[in-house]
Symmetry: C2
Subunit: 130 residues, 2 copies
DNA sequence: TGCTATGGTTCAGGACTTACGAACAATTGA
DNA sequence: TCAATTGTTCGTAAGTCCTGAACCATAGCA
C-alpha cells in the first residue's frame, strides 16, 4: 500500500480544483467535509444523496480530492480521516472554495420536487445561429 | 451544420461550469472573452498562450464552453462571435465566475520564470499515512 | 499467536471521453 | 463560378473513468 500523496499548497492548481469538483459525487463529498467540524471517514460516503457508491469508486474519488489538494487524509488505525484544506487554499485562491461550495448548495436548494438532474445537463433550450 | 445549442440559464449547472473550466486552454479562452469588451471570434484563439491549437480541437473547446452555458456564440457571416454569459450566470450563482477567473489570473501571475506547469500538477511533496 | 471483521487500496476490463487530421459545409468577394 | 476564409463533422487513436474481484493493514478476540 503506497503512501498517501498530498500536493504542497504551491502545487495546487485552479484547473485541478475545478476538475476534482466537476463530478457531482465528489462535490457532494467535499461539501460535506467542508461543512462538518470534525474529520470524516471514507465509509461515511458509501451512499451519497441516496445513491450507493461502490467502495473502489469511492477510494478513487478520495484520491482525486486528495491529489487536487482539496483534502487532507490521515490513516488512524483502520480508518481514513479526511478534513478539508480550505484554510491553505484560501490563502492561495481567496474565496474560490467557499464560492463553489455556496453555488453547489444553491443548486441543490433549487432542485425541488424529484427533479433528479445529475451531470452536465445536455438539455439545451435556446438554439441560435443558422 | 446543426444549429448551435445554448442551455437556458436554469439548465446551467455548477458541475458543468467547473468541468468546462477545468481545462487550461478553455479557462484561458474564457478568461480572455470575459476580459474583453467586444465579442471574440474563434480563430482569435488559434494560438493560446504561445501554443497552437488545431482548429478542430478549438471548435470542440468552444462547443464545450457553449454547452456549459458559459458563452453565447453567434454566427455573423463566416465568423463566429463569442461573448460571455456572465450576467446571466451571476444571477444564478453569484460570484462564481468572477472568483474563478480571478483565481486563474492569480495562478498565471504567480507563474514566473519559465515554470511551464499546465495541467493538474501530479507533483506531490508531502506524503502522510502509514 | 492465529482467526475474523472492518475499512481501504489496487488491478484489470470495458465504457466513455478527448484530441486532432482529413474531409466537408457555409459564406463572402472577386 | 471560383477561390479564400472560417468553422464543423467524422473517424480513430489515446486517454480517463467506473467498478467487481482480489488484495492489504489494523484491531479485537479467543
Amino acid at each position: 500500500m503506497r503512501p498517501l500523496l498530498h500536493p504542497s499548497v504551491d502545487d495546487i492548481t485552479v484547473e485541478g480544483i475545478l476538475h476534482a469538483l466537476s463530478d457531482p459525487v465528489r462535490v457532494a463529498i467535499f461539501a460535506d467535509i467542508v461543512g462538518s467540524t470534525c474529520s470524516q471517514i471514507c465509509s461515511h460516503f458509501l451512499t451519497v444523496r441516496d445513491r450507493p457508491i461502490p467502495k473502489s469508486t469511492l477510494s478513487q474519488h478520495f484520491k482525486a480530492l486528495r491529489e487536487a489538494g482539496l483534502i487532507l487524509s490521515e490513516r488512524r488505525g483502520v480508518e481514513m480521516h479526511n478534513s478539508s484544506r480550505c484554510a491553505e487554499i484560501e490563502v492561495r485562491f481567496p474565496g474560490l472554495i467557499s464560492t463553489i461550495v455556496k453555488a453547489h448548495a444553491m443548486q441543490l436548494a433549487g432542485r425541488h420536487h424529484g427533479d433528479k438532474r445529475t451531470r452536465k445537463a445536455p438539455d439545451p433550450r435556446i438554439a441560435r445561429g443558422r
